[in-house]
Amino acid sequence: MLADALLLQLGYNATLVTLGAALLGMAAGVAGTFLFLRKRALVSDAISHATLPGVGLAFVLMVAMGGDGRWLPGLLLGAAVSATVGLLCVQWLTTRTRLGEDAAIGAILSVFFGLGIVILTVIQTMTAGRQAGLEGFLLGSTAGMLRSDAILLAVASAAVLGLVLILRRPLELAAFDPGYAEATGWSLGRIDLAMMGIVLVVTVVGLKVVGLILIVALLIVPAVTARFWTDRASHVVMIAGVVGGVSGYVGAATSAIAPALPTGPIVVLVGFALFAASLLLSPGRGVLASVLVHRRYQRRVHMRQGLLALAQGQPIFEALTRRLMHRAGLILPDGVATPEGQAAASKALLDETRWSIVRADQSFAAAAIRYDGLTPIEDVLTPDQLRDVDLRIAAPQVVP
């Protein structure tokens, strides 16, 4: 059943909705990347919570005008208006008062959400509101979406992707170095406005799919996940788009076979799975990689110290050092060096002596900065330079 859903075998409508959700996920991942890089991720949480009163009021208004009240474009328009008001409130509080952005976000988010819940509760008691299904906006529900809804989703998402493509340079510059952006004549105010506009569109069209409580995850999780895999902003954007797209696709497909499950949490859990895998397995910034690198480095340090101790005829105290050297066949269990151990030890000592000459001589400054106590000096110096260094060791006063 799930396989059918994932392979888009559940009919035309479900297919359309799934593809729409995938496109939305891509748009959210891409737009959210710049929000994340600009370190304003939580503003999107304020925006999404501020949509709720607008949804409720739009419903009331449409019913009062004799309509059905569930017309999605009307509800989304209401959401957009109240989200804009919420965003402007956050901006105003941040720039014109002494409140920090975090406090402003907290205040606006809770007040607007509270107001929205009150309005929804009132609607529940209205006769026309019985079947409203507005709770779907809280956690997302793709089950009842119409073909026209899916097309709206796809068009808006495509527009967002296009806009980000056009504005990628100013968005990147504003995120990395806002002062420089301003000094070179990009208006920071306008860039931020454009970014918030893009996030607003993603949030509003994403309401029905992911729900207002969890849309922040669709904006942020893909970017955070992508950051594990690359050190280039342009690649972060693309990977985030893929992660977001997969999350939206799987979430909507699962929802198609289990309509009782809210879509938002499934989308978020898929995104989280990708995040957790990246956190563990990323070769550069992952937890596993850094543990392995640290362990390998620690072993090299122990081996080196052990060899130097052998070369100078000192006992080896640390158990880890003895174990490593024994395993490598360099010492016997009682700590006495094997022939191989003796050879390796004198090689290490020679290396260290050569290094100390190189580091003391200003003319080797370029090579000296590569000293880390582990790198063999042959990797750094040319054979000619090495001969030069060895000549100085041969001079009687240098021999230890």
């Binding site: 056009i166 510059l173 170095d177 002062g179 000094a183 070179t184 004549g185 990009w186 050190d231």
Partner: protein
């Protein structure tokens, strides 16, 4: 350049201002109710290296930022060769303080240098081979060619500063404005940066830098602006960089500033 708080409105002063690559008049910036800089007049001489010097909290960085309108001034005007700044943005290259950005940002050295050409490239212009060549040339001028594809977080402080300078060089501007270019960099980098700046001056460009090390001012710069919220003195180093003027700018803090150049930063 004048020391008075009210701008000199004589025709001669007006002519110097029009010829100047960067002239500010009556510039005041305030965070809250206390002015960070107050009614600053500064006329930068073309083809010279000018240092802005002053004690901690004198408003040196603020003056630069306000002159480039990165910070919105409360009052005052800025002209570039006699024209409003907004029309002349592309003639100015700005090197912000190194500490002002997040160096864990996902970008490589070459990408940062290419940012210097974003104005020239516009929104959709493709980055072509000649742009890359221009960026690599800028990197080679600061001795960072080998680091082009490194992530910026892997660089030392001095290397980061060189990359910022390379980004400004890639802009190929007439005026180079630098905020504390020597703060926290190694001696080799300081030497490399000053060589690049002097080379810029010798090819007719204008350099304006916030500087915190009083000892090196006479060696590095032609002109100096002594700032302590207001302009205390401004003009050629030989005539303006005197014990009396320094005493006036630094007050009792001069001894500390001499002993520990770091304490004069900011």
């Amino acid at each position: 350049m004048t020391v008075t708080l009210v701008a000199d409105r004589s025709t001669e002063a007006e002519a110097t201002r029009i010829a100047s690559p960067l002239a500010v008049r009556g510039l005041t910036v305030s965070y809250g109710q206390t002015p960070a800089i107050f009614s600053v007049d500064m006329t930068v001489r073309a083809g010279a290296m000018t240092a802005i010097v002053g004690p901690n909290g004198a408003g040196k960085s603020t003056l630069l930022k306000a002159a480039l309108q990165v910070v919105k001034p409360l009052a005052g005007t800025v002209t570039v060769f006699g024209k409003p700044l907004a029309q002349m943005r592309d003639r100015i290259a700005y090197v912000p303080q190194r500490a002002s950005v997040d160096w864990d940002f996902p970008t490589r050295v070459i990408d940062v240098v290419l940012m210097g050409m974003y104005r020239q490239l516009g929104l959709l212009g493709r980055v072509r081979a000649k742009h890359r060549a221009q960026a690599m040339d800028a990197l080679s001028r600061v001795g960072m060619t080998d680091f082009a594809t490194r992530q910026i977080g892997q660089l030392s402080g001095g290397q980061q500063q060189r990359v910022f300078l390379a980004r400004a060089l890639a802009q190929d501007a007439d005026i180079y404005v630098l905020d504390e270019p020597f703060a926290g960099v190694d001696a080799a980098t300081e030497k490399a940066i000053i060589a690049v700046l002097q080379d810029l001056r010798d090819t007719g460009r204008t350099v304006l830098a916030v500087h915190h090390d009083l000892v090196t001012v006479p060696d590095y710069f032609d002109d100096v602006v002594l700032l302590n919220t207001q302009v205390i003195a401004a003009g050629p180093v030989e005539t303006v960089f005197t014990e009396a003027n320094l005493q006036a700018a630094y007050g009792g803090r001069l001894t500390t500033a001499r002993v520990d150049p770091e304490s004069a930063a900011g």
